[in-house]
Every structure is written in C-alpha cells, then in structure tokens.
Symmetry: C2
Subunit: 263 residues, 2 copies
Amino acid sequence: MLESIAEVITIGNEVVSGRTVNTNASLVARRLTSMGFLVRRITAVRDDVEEISASIREALTRGISLLITTGGLGPTYDDVTAEALAKALGLPLELNQEALKQLVEKYKRSGVELTEARKKMALMPRGAVPVENNTGVAPGIYVTYSQTEILATPGVPSEVESVLEVFLTKYLKGKPSKKYMEVSFKVRGVMESAAAPHVAALVKKYFPIYIKTHPRNREMNLPVLEVQIASSDEDQNRLAEKVEQCERDLKELFRSLGGQVEE
Amino acid sequence: MLESIAEVITIGNEVVSGRTVNTNASLVARRLTSMGFLVRRITAVRDDVEEISASIREALTRGISLLITTGGLGPTYDDVTAEALAKALGLPLELNQEALKQLVEKYKRSGVELTEARKKMALMPRGAVPVENNTGVAPGIYVTYSQTEILATPGVPSEVESVLEVFLTKYLKGKPSKKYMEVSFKVRGVMESAAAPHVAALVKKYFPIYIKTHPRNREMNLPVLEVQIASSDEDQNRLAEKVEQCERDLKELFRSLGGQVEE
C-alpha cells in the first residue's frame, strides 16, 4: 500500500444529476492535501445502497490509507450511507450506544422528541466510532478496515467541515509522514462576509496551504474571526517559511480591512 | 445494458487536489440529465495515464450507453487523455487526418505556427472522429466501444460546453427514448452578466430543465442573447407544458430587465 493516499466519495443524487456542484469533495480534498495526503480520486454516486457500497469496495481495493465519504447520513429514507458502508465492509449494521447517547443528549437539550426516524442516525457498522457533530445532528462514522481508515460525514457543508476537523484532530491515526504545521490567530472587527473575497484570493495564491476563517462570535456589531492556516512539507524550514509568510499576508489583509489582529 | 445510462469522468490534478471545484462535471451532468440520461456516476482522476485509463475501463465495465470525459486534451505534457483513452480501448494512438486538418486551418487563420506540440492535439485512438471545437483549439474525440459512445472534451469550461453541444447535436446516436424538447428565443438589450443571477434562480426552480444563455453579439452596447431551454419527459404533453411555462417565465424576466424579446 502506498502511504498517505486518500480518496473521497460524495453521495447524493443532486450531485450526480448536476443539480448541485460538488463543493463538499473540494473542501475535503483541499483539507487532506494541506495535511500531506495525496488525494487520488473523487467519486460521486447516487443515493443507492448498491452504488455506494460498490464505490466503497472499489476504493478499498485500490489500496488507500484514508477514505472520506460525504452525504447520506441523516433521518430520511434516502440516507443510506451507514447501511451501504456496513455492506461494503461485510459488517452488521447495529445501534451504536455511544452515538445513541449523543443523539439523546442533543434532542434533550433542544426539547425535541427522539423518534425512530431520528434514532436511525445511531445505526452504524459494528465496531464503528461515532464522531461528534458540533454543527448538526447526525454524528460521523469512523471505522477502520484492514489498513484503511474510513470516515463518513453528513452532507451539509458546515457539518462536513465540522465533523472532518473533529476526526482529523481527535481520531485519525495514519497521519502523513510529512511535517505538518498549523497556526491560527484571532481578528476582531471584520465580518467574515466582508473578508471573504480577499481571503479567497489568498487561498488561491497560497494553495496547497489551507486557509479557513471560523466565525467565533455571532454578534454582527462585534465580529470575531479565528483564522486557521495549515500546510505540510517534507522540509520543516520551508514549511515554516511558507506558513509564516501566508500568516503575515493574512494579518496585513485583516488590518487593511480595519480589523484588530490578536498577536 | 440499461438504457440511457451515462457517466462523467473529469481529469485534472487541480480538481482531485481540491484546488478547483468540479463545475465541468456538473455542467455535463446537468445537460445529460435534461436530455433524459440517468447520470449514474461522476469520477475525478489525476493527470495520469494509468488512472485515467483504469477509470474509463471501469466505467465501460459497468455497462453504460454514454461516457463523457472532460480535461486532458491539449498541447502540454500533462494532457494525456487521448493516450489513456486509446490504452483503455486497446486501440493504437495515431494522427487523425481530419483532426489535423481542423488544426491546420485553425492555426492558419490565426497566423500561428503548427508546432509538434500542437500537432499532438490531432492524436486520437484509431477510428475516432474529431468533434469541432468552436471556442478553443483541441478538437473533442468521439469514439464508440461496443455499445458505449464516448466523448472526450478539453477542460476549459467554455470548450466543454461548446464541444458537448456539437457532439449532442451532430454525432450522438444513442439518444434516450424519452421525448425531448428544445426551444430558444432571442433577447436584445440585456447583458448576460446582468441577467445571470436572475437566470440562476430560474435554473434552480425549473431543474432538471436545462436553461442556458448564449451571447450572440460581442458589443457591450447592443447585447444579444440566445436563451436555450431543453428538457425531457416520458409524456409529451407534460413536457410541452413545463418547457412552455419555463419559457414564459424567462421571457417575462428578460422583459422586466428591459430586454426586447423576439417572438
């Protein structure tokens, strides 16, 4: 098996029919690339158990260290990723007690009843670990098969991002051997939407460095952003140099937009 | 083989690494869906002969009537789709005389020399038919393998669209058995960029109806747009009804934007 090879599978009729552009796959691929993974293939399939499990099996056959799927986790009839994943791995699908606990707490807090349809989100292949979803309801599914780590995330873009970050930080074992560096800083007084087009230009300029703004405050009149910069390289010095240059550029940008940058 | 099943393969490191969002695949899938094809899978692979030819062979194995690939046709060293396609089909790659003729004419008109690197764009699997590229240089490649029709287009979005339209109109044999309807009308006095956000809302509302504006005049002060509407349905009456309603809505939109609609 080649080291640090990843694949992404996006699940959803709306993507395969062309209705929705596949930004989820780009988001995941960009993040994995910044960590030092070589993303070798992206596949989009329909909400169909056979199609999904076939595409998962094929990816596993190609010998990869990481597989991320997005979409098809949720309460509706066409959310079939958990079932397809169990099928692809030859594992029984069962109620995951830890996932159920997360759902019970979540629904209790919001005063919503945990119906059978909602309990479906705790069904996972045997041995899977639920990955906390801090933005939505359905937890991600983390399972290891032979030498491949697999993460299934829901399909809402903010949940893809949130579940993926928890997974990368807390669960992923097979990290690429390249050096990895991540820095972040806070900015007050610049709205994310105002910064967006300028940040997009730097994202393009500095690719494959990963740049991401996270709003940390909901108040329109006192916005706080956390700016995250991540990259990888064989060479520690070169890595530090490029990340630091990117950080300087970003800080300068936020100052020019009237922000107070926390040093 | 199932009838009218299609797949799309997008070729390019920039897509698989997450640098570029895969709008080409969405464009192609949306257009095929509007014609009555069921798009079953979209695959994105790197600029690598082995990866591309493997993904083509896999798609053919799944039994499909149409395969569209985008990207990897051009003069540079990493444009390897023609080679990979020949390899996947077990055909020799050779200089296509008709394609060469198209290139010679194109370069003659623009007074640019036809170098060896540029001649590479006439290399095609034996028996292939070059598909005219009215927007760029590299012709598309049309080849039939067993019961599957295959079209390879370049990767520049405007060229994907242009080569695909020529192919669908002039070459495609295996049209879906659903009724297909296409209408178009002309509008004077509305810039495409001014109409774009409003048209996008109708594209969303009327999906899977295909709506597309084509600028037919380069003059900023007298813009002419051709508006194309296409869809398919089992039922002729229902099809006519929805296409006509979409057409009425679009005409009303262009009038409200100050355009003169040609009846």
